[in-house]
């Protein structure tokens, strides 16, 4: 079962000098675009966190800052979602993908200027979009709130990135195409298709209302499933074997996982509209596809688990591995939860409640964001040429966000289930259903404070790294000494 056809990534031990110098050259070639995308990602993470806290506090105390239309709940909430989805997660994902593609194509990054302009356009697009939402131009179409003048710029930016990616793939060194590359290639094809279709049909030239819901959630679910998920999985498939210095457990499981994800994930969207005004077969198709998601999820989980098995001790010393494995485990959790939530009986409880909000955070934060942190801890020292200044800051970052996100998902899940059960019972007045959620929403704000603190620590760590604070280190910054027998995650 444990086929070892996968050549890249392999052990970092005893590399020939040629490889070493090629990798150093590749890493250096990615410096400007990667640091630009990562830097803007971290900026938007802080902005998005600020909006999240505002929105959360407003649910605890609706009178909080209610005198300005710019900061009303119905605007800061979509400002939060779009700042973290397009500003943070997408930029972090693009930055990671650029580096991974250059490494996996085994060729230095070409046309960095194209990517620099893409990064500038992307940031202008997100900035205009957030401004538009706050100023009252938001579209109130979930995941697609940006007004047309912002989404058009984002699309142009993404077009530049896609063109760049095609060029990179043409110049790749011949040889095996690693599993991470399949996912990255798919994400780069799927996202512009998704984004343009949904924006054209919903925002530029609006189709009739009944059809909008289907297109909206085809987009909303696929943005997670066919944009963030492939990038997250590509990153995990690269980092886990790389840090441990051993190949992926099974090549065949990775093939199965990839194709079943491609076939089934794209059909999931309608499970957000169970019971809504749609033909039964559409909803049923999505419910069935959600069940079928067990195949790629369990396949990937087994593949990752078997790769790490016997080496869980490495989580003690490797920041990259600790964040990435946390994320990979939460991918399994979030996906299993998502499939269960599509079962109509369970959906009738969780639909329209805060449980769904908890689920989104399990997916986009506990899975995707944690893996992006892992990638940044691995990639940044290599492209900047400086090790992380402080292991203590990384440790604080990990525990603040890990505890924060677990707390958030737990309290939103409990509050959501109580809310959902109350909503199902017509004997309970509507106002009473609200009372079931209030204490949990209060605790949610508490979890948000932990996450905010974690983000500030991370941003600080990033700035210190860019400023090259401290004295040069020969060894990577680890949580603990890794012991004699372990392969090293060297900065090459």
């Amino acid at each position: 079962m444990s086929a070892t056809i996968t050549m890249e990534p392999t052990s970092t031990v005893a590399l020939p000098d040629v490889d070493k110098s090629l990798r150093a050259e590749i890493d250096a070639s990615t410096r400007l675009p990667v640091v630009l995308f990562y830097g803007s990602a971290i900026f938007w993470l802080l902005v998005g966190t600020g909006f999240a806290m505002l929105a959360s506090f407003k649910m605890n105390d609706p009178a909080f800052l209610d005198q300005w239309g710019w900061l009303t709940f119905g605007r800061v909430r979509p400002a939060h979602l779009n700042a973290v989805a397009y500003g943070w997660a997408s930029s972090a994902g693009i930055g990671t993908s650029l580096w991974l593609m250059a490494r996996l194509c085994r060729t230095p990054l070409r046309h960095a200027k194209l990517l620099v302009s893409a990064a500038v356009f992307w940031n202008i697009g997100v900035l205009l979009g957030i401004y538009g939402i706050l100023a009252g131009d938001g579209r109130s179409i979930e995941w697609l709130e940006f007004p047309n003048y912002a989404s058009a710029i984002l699309f142009v930016s993404f077009g530049l990135i896609a063109v760049w990616a095609v060029v990179m793939f043409r110049f790749r060194q011949p040889g095996h195409i690693y599993v991470s590359q399949w996912y990255l290639l798919a994400a780069i094809i799927w996202f512009p298709w998704l984004y343009s279709t949904a924006n054209l049909l919903l925002n530029f030239e609006s189709i009739q209302g009944g059809a909008q819901g289907a297109v909206n959630w085809w987009y909303g679910h696929n943005a997670l499933g066919l944009w963030f998920t492939p990038i997250g999985l590509a990153t995990a498939y690269y980092l886990i074997p790389k840090v441990l210095g051993r190949p992926i457990h099974s090549y065949y499981l990775s093939i199965l996982g990839f194709w079943t994800l491609a076939i089934f994930y794209s059909w999931n969207g309608m499970h957000h509209l169970i019971g809504g005004p749609f033909p039964a077969w559409m909803v049923t198709a999505s419910v069935v596809a959600s069940m079928m998601m067990f195949i790629p999820v369990i396949t990937t989980a087994i593949n990752h688990h078997m790769t790490v098995r016997g080496n869980f001790g490495a989580l003690k010393w490797s920041p990259t591995l600790r964040f990435t494995v946390f994320g990979a485990m939460c991918y399994t959790l979030a996906s299993v939860q998502g499939s269960l939530m599509a079962i109509p009986t369970l959906n009738s409880v969780t639909h329209f409640t805060h449980y769904t909000v908890g689920h989104s955070h399990l997916g986009l934060y506990a899975f995707f964001t944690m893996i992006m942190y892992g990638a940044m801890y691995y990639i940044l020292p290599r492209v900047v040429g400086w090790e992380w200044p402080s292991a203590r800051l990384i440790r604080w970052h990990f525990w603040l966000v890990a505890i924060g996100i677990v707390l958030m998902v737990v309290v939103l899940s409990i509050g959501g289930i109580l809310q959902g059960l109350a909503l199902l019972d017509p004997e309970i007045t509507f106002m009473a259903t609200l009372d079931y959620t209030k204490p949990w929403l209060f605790l949610r704000s508490g979890s948000g404070i932990l996450l905010t603190a974690g983000h500030i620590v991370f941003a600080l760590s990033f700035v210190l790294l860019l400023l090259k604070v401290g004295s040069p280190k020969v060894q990577p910054t680890l949580f603990a000494s890794q012991g004699e027998d372990k392969p090293e995650p060297l900065s090459l």
């Binding site: 609706p62 209610d66 119905g74 009739q208 059809a211 289907a214 509209l273 019971g275 769904t356």
Partner: protein
């Protein structure tokens, strides 16, 4: 998998299938409704919105009402929407044929608004509620939309559209609170939300 062409073809084909099923099909099947004309009464259903209500729909979108309020009444067996009196019948695709965008919603921090115009037909109630939600509905966590209103000095007589407000939100002596055009439009839209007319595909029970 070392054949780039196979990978790319697979990536296209798998996604194209879902594009057919969840984008092209709904557009053809649910995106080309005509209004239903009731031959007995001559009513056009769903009724078109007034110009003011249409503007109100945009205010609804820009204020982000959908993040707490849905507009869909589900069939029996899917939640207690009908038992709660949120509508006389389940909503169907034709109900949304004029909506751009359609506010189906995915969250119920607040109640469903598919038929709020039937439940609360009073213009004054809506203005009072938008200005001071917790006074009108104790326990509500809806934010105040007072930024859609103006407090002005009373010149001679009170303005005809001045809002009756209770303490603690009442304006100081000699002042009155009047809705802006956007507030008037939003309330006109909310009152227009009444889908209790029968359609052939979803008759009233």
């Amino acid at each position: 998998m070392n054949r780039m062409s196979v990978i790319i073809a697979g990536i296209f084909i798998t996604f194209f299938c879902s594009w057919i099923g969840l984008v092209a099909y709904p557009y053809l099947a649910l995106g080309r409704y005509l209004p239903f004309v009731d031959e007995d009464t001559g009513d056009i259903l769903p009724p078109p919105l007034s110009g003011l209500a249409e503007r109100g729909q945009q205010v609804y979108a820009s204020s982000g009402c959908i993040y707490c309020h849905s507009q869909q009444v589900r069939q029996i067996g899917y939640g207690s929407d009908l038992e709660r009196g949120w509508g006389a019948r389940p909503t169907v695709a034709r109900d949304y044929m004029r909506e751009r965008p359609a506010f189906l919603g995915t969250m119920r921090t607040g109640p469903d608004l598919s038929n709020i115009g039937a439940r609360q037909p009073s213009v004054m109630w809506h203005h009072q509620h938008l200005y001071q939600p917790a006074v009108v509905s104790p326990g509500s966590i809806m934010p105040s939309y007072r930024y859609l209103y103006q407090t002005q000095k009373i010149e001679g007589q009170m303005a005809a559209n001045a809002i009756n407000l209770l303490p603690p939100s009442a304006p100081p002596e000699g002042y009155e609170v009047v809705p802006t055009y956007d507030a008037e439009a939003l309330v006109a839209y909310l009152i227009s939300l009444n889908r209790n007319y029968p359609l052939p595909e979803s008759p009233e029970p």
